[in-house]
Amino acid sequence: MKQLCILFYFVLIFVDCIKQFDMETAIKSPKKSTSKKVVKAVPMTKAEMVQKMLYDQKFIRDAIQSGITFKELTEKYGYKFATI
């Protein structure tokens, strides 16, 4: 019985050491981020910009012609408008 108690005592010390080791490891080397790499947006060329301007202009015009409201264009399609 005494031997069992001593063995149990050593097991407890061993488990405690492992816990301590894990904590230190966690502090010293934080988990690597699993998020995807951030890809920098490539700036548009001027020709691409003009294409996008025209695309957006046409999209808004067509949307209005088909009865889509400015509110919908803002909320569903992310376009912004301004008044004074």
Partner: protein, 163 residues
């Protein structure tokens, strides 16, 4: 200004658009959209640049002839938008229906012939280069806008094309 050139009364649907109806019953929408995304190289003025467009509400019958009060109304709307001396407006003539040239001439003339508020507006026109050719574009900015030179520089930078 003659009474016949009085602007139409227009509705402001904040924060989206302006609308007015002509004597003949045609309804038009005018709207400004932020263009800052195209002028990122100019962070000081980018949030102050807007595009302008005017659009006839869908009708089967198309208007005929010239209604000078439409011009007066557009000048009033754009003039008030620029009177803050903060914003600038870029107008690109929609080429999708093949009437870009006519649209450009009309828009340009609106800000040349009238002597009211538009006299306070600097108008600069140039071409935008696209894969399929060039397009007319117009910059409008108030004469007293402190950032006027920067707006003009940014506009010419855009119209210069890729170099």
């Amino acid at each position: 200004m003659a009474i016949s050139l009085q602007p139409y009364k227009y509705l402001v649907s904040k924060p989206y658009s302006y609308s007015f109806t002509t004597e003949k019953g045609f309804e038009y929408f005018c709207y400004f959209t932020p263009y800052g995304a195209y002028f990122l190289e100019y962070p000081e003025i980018a949030p102050k640049i807007f595009s302008f467009d005017i659009q006839l509400k869908n009708t089967i019958i198309k208007p005929k002839g010239t209604d000078k009060r439409i011009a007066a109304t557009v000048i009033d709307i754009v003039g008030k938008f620029l009177n803050s001396q903060i914003n600038a407006v870029v107008y690109i003539c929609d080429p999708s229906d093949g009437k870009a040239n006519a649209r450009f001439k009309k828009f340009k003339s609106w800000f040349e012939y009238y002597t009211h508020d538009s006299a306070q507006i600097v108008q600069i026109s140039d071409y935008l280069v696209t894969d399929s050719g060039s397009l007319h574009a117009v910059l409008l900015v108030h004469k007293k806008n402190k950032l006027r030179e920067q707006f003009i520089k940014a506009f010419f930078n855009l119209t210069d094309g890729d170099k």
